[in-house]
Symmetry: C2
Subunit: 258 residues, 2 copies
């Protein structure tokens, strides 16, 4: 599993809950984080290095937890590597297409992910009549990383960001960044109680489970000791605390150089 | 001149205003930005690479605009390279020591810079009787980079951060990060009208001018066409806009790989 930081551990948790048993090597590229403000070229370069590392650790399948990396680098990565690479954008788009009743879907994400236009592309490929409204929310990742989950400032900022999507009367909202589900309560209040929130982490975990079901030979070949190893390219006390909060248990971050 | 991003262009502007004529090669390490949330070891590694690049471009003197890099890496850098390396921490500390009347100095900065304890160390070395109160303000850099300079949310967050320093009745406040002077108006209101704000960019530019005065042989050997070349390790439209806003003119960012 590859992510730009430790936020993608939400995906690791969902995957290990839904598809128990498989060993997971997680790489959080915390020396280069955040990806959401960097250029597609640079993000692609980092993702290539990250997946090379996972291959060197014996990965036979890669899950990209980071939607920014998936949004800008997936084509390059798929062309570059032979192994299956799964991401949350398609599954979240499919989920949203199924959920919407009025044909108006909102997407929030990092600037780089939103600018890539990848969500619109996937949604419109499935249902060209749907209207997609996107909004980049660059301050939400720092707010979550500061642990400001309940502060009035956070509520105001979320409200600011969601206003244009609310005006467009979206009835389904994709929370297109691993950090956003931690703000789901506030997002739900500000976008409206009846709006369906789509969490790509859950959609991706489900998608990965289905993929393994469809590929029993691959699934049978994978080690199944239920182990999670969390590697990072930079380690601080705060990252350690965030990782433990997401996994709801103590966790040792192993520092690796790419 | 070395910085973690384009925020240090405030230092470049101050330097070129106060000490006109010298050619400046500026490197903003935007592929790895921000430094303020990363570990001292990783920041030191990035700073070593950055200064190696500046040497390869013929630099004969280096100004470190980034207080996080200066705070954690200066000793390593000075041991590693022969050329003079100047930073803003000493000059800002000296300025604050001169300015305080009640012996209570506040310092705001990134988490890594504040945790390094470098401001306290420099202030207490000059005047052991002074009380230093520090506060890390991790959300201010993202807020400035989003251009949220006048928003009510920004005012609330600044007030939150400054409250403990205000309670301690500091009469002098070091804005220990290149981005903070862009919030100087709000900071002044929230910390109190009578508190002296110290801008390390200005202190550093003055210090560099004085250093060149004291080293006329070095100063005479430097090219003086008044040119500024701005190199970055990653380029986006937003960085281009921020750089232009700080320099108050159009600027081409040259992408380089370290």
């Amino acid at each position: 599993m590859f992510d730009s930081g430790v936020g993608g551990l939400t995906v690791a948790r969902a995957f290990m809950d839904q598809v128990p048993g498989f060993d997971v090597v997680y790489l959080g590229d915390t020396a280069h984080t955040p990806y959401g403000t960097k250029s597609p070229g640079t993000v692609t370069r980092y993702a290539l290095e990250g997946i090379r590392f996972l291959l060197s650790r014996g990965a036979a399948m890669v899950i990209i937890a980071c939607n920014t990396a998936a949004g800008v680098a997936l084509d390059t990565l798929s062309a570059h590597f032979q192994l299956p690479i799964l991401d949350g954008i398609g599954p979240a788009a499919d989920h949203a297409v199924k959920a919407t009743r009025n044909g108006r879907i909102g997407v929030i994400g990092t600037r780089t992910a939103v600018d890539s236009g990848v969500y619109e592309k996937r949604i419109l490929a499935a249902r060209p009549d749907i209207r997609v409204y996107t909004r980049s929310c660059p301050l939400l990742v720092p707010l979550v990383e500061e642990g400001w989950l309940k502060k009035p400032e956070t509520r105001m900022i979320v409200k600011d960001y969601l206003r244009p999507l609310k005006v467009r009367r979206v009835d389904t909202l994709i929370m297109g960044c691993t950090h956003y589900p931690l703000l789901a309560d506030i997002i739900q209040v500000k976008i409206g109680r009846r709006v369906v929130l789509v969490d790509p982490a859950a959609a991706l975990a489900e998608h990965a489970g289905a993929f393994l079901d469809r590929n029993p030979t691959l699934a049978a070949s994978l080690p199944k000791n239920g182990r999670l190893q969390v590697c990072v390219t930079d380690r601080t006390d705060r990252l350690q605390a965030t990782a433990a909060a997401i996994l709801r248990r103590k966790v040792d971050l192993t520092v690796v150089q790419l």
